[in-house]
């Protein structure tokens, strides 16, 4: 199985899903990730920052709880940004003047490495012609 970039919305729902409630969207995410394989899912540095911000912005975690969630996020393989990706991001942002910075960076990473993105936000990535899962 090839590597797949999982977007922030996918990873957050996968970790924080409510075990007691049936939700078709989340069940689909869980089944898809299980099929891809935990070690085949990757995130971009943009997703990692978003996930860490999501955890740190929630004031309800205790001192011991927050590091437990952060540990799983740290387990995920991260794809970083290099100079060619930075330049590709610049090109994409010039071509798509209304694109959001995070989507543009993630799209450039996906295009550069030819890794598809698994996302709930297909519309914005389609505009950027990013490879989708």
């Amino acid at each position: 199985m090839k590597k797949i970039i999982c977007d922030t919305g996918i990873i957050s729902r996968y970790i924080a899903r409510d075990m007691g409630v049936r939700d078709k969207q989340i069940e689909k995410i869980v089944a898809t990730i299980e099929n891809i394989g935990l070690t085949n899912i990757v995130i971009t540095i943009v997703n990692k920052i978003e996930l860490l911000n999501w955890i740190s912005s929630n004031p309800h975690f205790t001192k011991t709880e927050r590091p437990i969630v952060v540990k799983f996020i740290k387990d995920l393989t991260v794809i970083h940004i290099n100079e060619p990706i930075s330049k590709l991001t610049e090109v994409l942002s010039i071509k798509n003047i209304n694109s959001k910075p995070a989507d543009t960076f993630i799209s450039a990473i996906a295009k550069y490495h030819k890794i598809p993105i698994y996302t709930l936000n297909t519309k914005d990535f389609e505009i950027l012609k990013a490879p989708l899962f």
Partner: protein
């Protein structure tokens, strides 16, 4: 019989790596944290993007 097939490495057997075992353990712990948050009445809001 099933155990024997596994010990012989049947083609359907999925190879589980040490990395995956560690990730599963950490995932379960993280999921328990969110379950406990919900038990305390906290509504989990997912990232918007």
């Amino acid at each position: 019989m099933e155990a024997k097939a596994k010990s012989l490495g049947s083609p359907s057997e999925k190879k589980v790596t040490a990395k995956e075992i560690e990730m599963r353990k950490d995932l379960e712990k993280a999921q328990k944290v969110f379950t406990n948050l919900r038990k305390r009445g906290v509504e989990i809001v997912y990232p918007t993007r």
